[in-house]
């Protein structure tokens, strides 16, 4: 069956374990939906071009740019934002590693890095990631604090 929307379209998804049913404009990005409609402002919006990675979220466990998805595209899916990472094993270790290495200055990019790491349950090496720099290259730190972020992520194993 063809779904056509000129004005509003429904979205029915699970966000951070909570069922969400809403009516949105088709052009509303997932990042705007999360921030403006659900109040989940931990998902940051840097560039809206898919470059910076601050808006990374998990959709069905896969890390994607929420600024490049329309909210309606997560209909029937499970979305996890940085606020919902508590349920993913390893978050506490990642937090400790980031704090120990001072892997943030302004913190704007931190949700993006944490969500990227959440995709591999905060254990990139175990998940088969052989090149950490390449893995982390999808998220930009505007303070350019990459060395400390890399050090923190190396601690995770």
């Amino acid at each position: 069956m063809i779904v056509i929307a000129t004005e509003l379209i429904s979205v029915n998804a699970v966000v951070n374990g909570r069922r969400v049913v809403a009516s949105v404009e088709a052009r509303m990005s997932l990042s705007d939906f999360l921030r403006h409609r659900l109040g989940l402002t931990g998902t940051h919006v840097g560039c809206e071009q898919g470059v910076c990675g601050s808006c990374n979220v998990l959709v069905d466990g896969v890390a994607v740019r929420s600024c490049l998805l329309f909210a309606t595209q997560v209909d029937g899916r499970i979305v996890t934002t940085v606020e919902g990472l508590e349920d993913i094993p390893g978050l506490e270790r990642a937090r400790e590693a980031f704090i120990a290495e001072e892997a943030f200055q302004c913190g704007f990019c931190t949700p993006g890095f944490l969500v990227a790491l959440a995709e591999v349950e905060f254990r990139p090496a175990e998940a088969g990631v052989t090149d950490l720099r390449s893995f982390l290259s999808g998220t930009l730190c505007r303070c350019t604090g990459y060395q400390t972020i890399l050090k923190a992520v190396r601690r995770l194993g």
Partner: protein
């Protein structure tokens, strides 16, 4: 910035999708991974009247890793092609090139077929598909046709598909026992647009002589640029490094290069030669090892 308003259309089958494309034609944009399209929409560089979202068309999710060829559907994500992805072992050249494509989150969503149809001159996959001799299947209400991937791009960001057509899959012929391949690239940063890259595929005869050899450049011309003059290698032993260098340096002096504010034409030609040389040498070496 936010995209302009559009009519969102979500077909549930391929037949519905091509019907919609026939109806909306040139005013429509087709959405698969959206990793190139949506940034353009967000910047309002593209304002399609209708957006046809293919993501719920399960027929396009197909993949078939057969004996003769590898078929990859329009919704198969680039991430699957990486060496540790679901299709990572199916075609080593796709896996090797994937390391240079965007970043993991983009590859989680972006598709191989979308990259082919988008025809970005700096994109890795279109050149890799040309080097592999792959074909694309295009579908419209008028029927289905096969296009050589070498004939998909007609210029920078333009392709030979009609307004009512979409690519449903690509078919990559399987490597023979003595085929080696390699991809190499130079960019300013990891995942940034290629200044120049090269995909090479070398096939050997049982006696170790070259049976076929193809090198295709990324980011040099408006379309994937096949290195010329390699036919003369056929039937010959694998050329030495010096011979490769001589052949490709001479060729690169003649090629048209695309204007690039990051690299003047002289530098671009030098990069084109160097990338070709490296890719060809590595591919030939791998073919030789496989031939044992």
């Amino acid at each position: 910035m936010k995209p302009a308003r559009f009519r969102y259309v979500r077909p549930a089958s391929l037949d519905e999708a091509v019907d919609l494309l026939a109806e909306h034609g040139p005013d429509a944009a087709v959405l698969a991974g959206g990793q190139s399209l949506v940034p353009l929409m967000n910047q309002r560089l593209r304002c399609p009247a209708a957006l046809i979202d293919l993501n719920f068309v399960t027929e396009l999710n197909g993949r078939d890793d057969g004996e003769a060829s590898l078929v990859i559907g329009a919704l198969v994500r680039q991430r699957e092609l990486e060496s540790d992805g679901a299709l990572g072992r199916a075609e080593p050249l796709l896996a090797e090139a994937s390391r240079f494509v965007g970043n993991r989150q983009v590859r989680n969503r972006g598709t191989l077929v979308g990259s082919l149809a988008f025809a970005d001159p700096a994109a890795e996959y279109p050149a890799v598909l040309v080097a592999l001799g792959a074909t694309a299947t295009a579908r419209s209400v008028r029927g289905e046709r096969e296009i050589s991937c070498a004939n998909v791009a007609t210029g920078a960001f333009s392709c030979s598909l009609a307004a009512d057509e979409l690519i449903t899959s690509v078919r990559v012929p399987k490597a023979g026992a003595r085929r080696g391949s390699a991809y190499t690239e130079v960019a300013e940063r990891r995942g940034a647009r290629a200044l120049a890259g090269a995909a090479a595929v070398v096939e050997l005869e049982s006696d170790g002589s070259v049976s076929s050899c193809r090198v295709v450049l990324v980011g040099v011309s408006d379309v994937p640029l096949q290195v010329g003059g390699l036919d003369r290698l056929r039937g010959q032993p694998i050329p030495t490094d010096e011979e490769i260098r001589e052949l490709l340096t001479a060729w690169s002096n003649e090629i048209p290069v695309r204007p690039d504010r990051r690299a003047d034409p002289r530098y671009k030609r030098a990069l084109a030669a160097e990338m070709s040389i490296r890719a060809l040498r590595r591919a030939a070496g791998r073919a030789r090892r496989l031939a044992g």
